[in-house]
């Protein structure tokens, strides 16, 4: 058991080390998300009423699209140096590779959220710094990385993967996006845990299902 965790952590840590050195993925996610937010600030009228109404949607759409870009990067680098094959030759089962890469992606998305959400709060003039927001960000980041890692690994051999990944990823994570947007709406309107409970439950169920299924199914996709 500890062996398993050590292997997963070794893969994620390796991603972190590389990320700290060239800052590819986090810059991709954060830059893209901040850009979308900035464009919205002058594309729509952000009076207090409007901000509450459209803010959550804009925020999560920005994070979702940016997440896709980041996920693409995370796997593309692994393919360009064909290091994915080094992982495949290693005597570890495929689900550990999946969990390790997902953990890395989860950390990248979380980092991006830590930068993007305060900016969102400032630009849209909304109060989002509450524990509920931490929970929403966590479940969303877990779901994004669970689904995104699987799909990024799938589309990595396609030339047009920049197009293919969003096409696969966004429809599948729609429930998660709805959950994030709705819970954030409750949150900016001063809602309580109770009001967003059913959405958070849905998101957690989504996360658990996709982590389990993806880990089981991952062995089918990597070898050519």
């Amino acid at each position: 058991m500890t062996d398993t965790i050590l292997v997963i952590w070794a893969i994620a840590r390796k991603d972190l080390v590389l990320e700290i050195r060239n800052k590819d993925v986090v810059v991709a996610i954060t830059g893209f998300a901040l850009l979308v937010l900035a464009i919205f600030t002058f594309a729509v009228d952000l009076s207090q009423m409007n901000a509450k109404l459209i803010g959550p949607g804009v925020l999560w759409a920005a994070i979702a699209f940016a997440g896709v870009t980041g996920l693409n990067r995370a796997f593309a680098s692994e393919i360009e140096s064909s290091t994915l094959e080094a992982l495949l030759i290693a005597p570890i089962s495929r689900d550990l590779i999946y969990l390790g890469k997902s953990l890395g992606n989860f950390l990248f998305i979380t980092t991006a959220q830590i930068i993007v959400i305060p900016t969102f709060a400032v630009l849209f003039n909304l109060i989002v710094f509450r524990w509920e927001m931490v929970a929403i960000c966590m479940v969303t980041a877990i779901g994004f990385s669970a689904v995104g890692t699987l799909f990024a690994a799938m589309s990595v051999r396609i030339r047009a993967r920049e197009v293919m990944l969003p096409l696969l990823f966004l429809p599948v994570v729609t429930p998660l996006l709805m959950a994030a947007v709705e819970s954030t709406s409750y949150l900016v309107n001063g809602g309580t845990w109770g009001e967003m409970a059913s959405w958070l439950q849905l998101a957690i169920a989504f996360d658990v299902l996709f982590i389990v299924i993806s880990a089981l199914i991952f062995q089918n996709i990597l070898e050519d």
């Binding site: 050590l6 140096s81 094959e85 290693a90 005597p91 089962s93």
Partner: protein
């Protein structure tokens, strides 16, 4: 498991296609334990695909493949634990140092005494001075050596090498030969492709010539059957 001692790799009617392109048509092959086997053939004959199949990077479409008597599809992790591979691409992270790359491999291989092991392995391939260099800054030949170090770090009983001499200078080729000789003397198996056929035949115990995804010649005595092998190889080359 009685055959474990004699046959390292057994392939029966192995087929691999990429759409309309046939990579391996029907490969029947037995590679004995404890020797050096070289795969010969022109580009696209299926050498690299075959090595990738042995390394379990490529799934076969049909046929049977056992490695050390273990069925490939069923016992993946235990086969891979005893396999080391240095294939065409170096498979290294350019932004990490040589030591970090080896350290990462050692931790996913769950090896003990990592620091000493890494130094010893680096010494074997002659990169002990370059351990702190970023892989990106190394020449192609040095990257090949790091890749080789990663492949032999856990002393696998099956070593797969795809053109290991390419990019190496004379002294490094000698080091490579020593490593291969060491493998043979420990009754371990080496399967390699090579483009320096004369050199390959000198160190080989078995030779396999491939053409269009088929085995056209299998020799267990490459020194005496040298001319036959050269003829088969030449006929393959002529068709290119």
């Amino acid at each position: 498991m009685t055959q474990t001692n004699t046959i390292a790799i057994k392939a029966e009617a192995v087929v691999k296609n990429y759409g309309a392109k046939a990579a391996l048509r029907s490969i029947d092959l037995e590679i004995p334990t404890g020797g050096v086997t070289i795969l010969l053939g022109s580009n696209g004959a299926g050498k690299s695909t075959l090595l990738r199949v042995f390394a379990m990077l490529t799934r076969i479409d049909s046929g049977n493949l056992t490695i050390h008597g273990l069925e490939m599809m069923k016992e993946g992790p235990s086969i891979r634990a005893n396999t080391g591979a240095a294939l065409h691409a170096p498979m290294l992270y350019g932004d990490m140092s040589v030591r970090e790359n080896l350290m990462f491999s050692a931790s996913i291989l769950r090896l003990p005494r990592k620091d000493t092991l890494i130094y010893e392995t680096a010494e074997k391939v002659g990169i002990q001075d370059r351990l702190e260099d970023r892989v990106r800054s190394l020449s192609h030949g040095l990257q090949k050596k790091v890749s080789l170090a990663r492949a032999i770090m856990h002393e696998p009983s099956l070593l797969l090498l795809d053109e290991p001499e390419s990019g190496l200078d004379g002294r490094s080729v000698n080091q490579l030969d020593q490593i291969i000789a060491g493998y043979r003397s420990h009754n371990r198996t080496v399967v390699m492709t090579t483009h320096i056929i004369e050199h390959g035949l000198e160190i080989a115990d078995h030779a396999v010539v491939l053409q269009h995804g088929n085995v056209i010649l299998m020799s267990n005595d490459p020194i005496t059957e040298r001319s036959a092998i050269m003829n088969a190889y030449a006929s393959v080359g002529a068709k290119l």
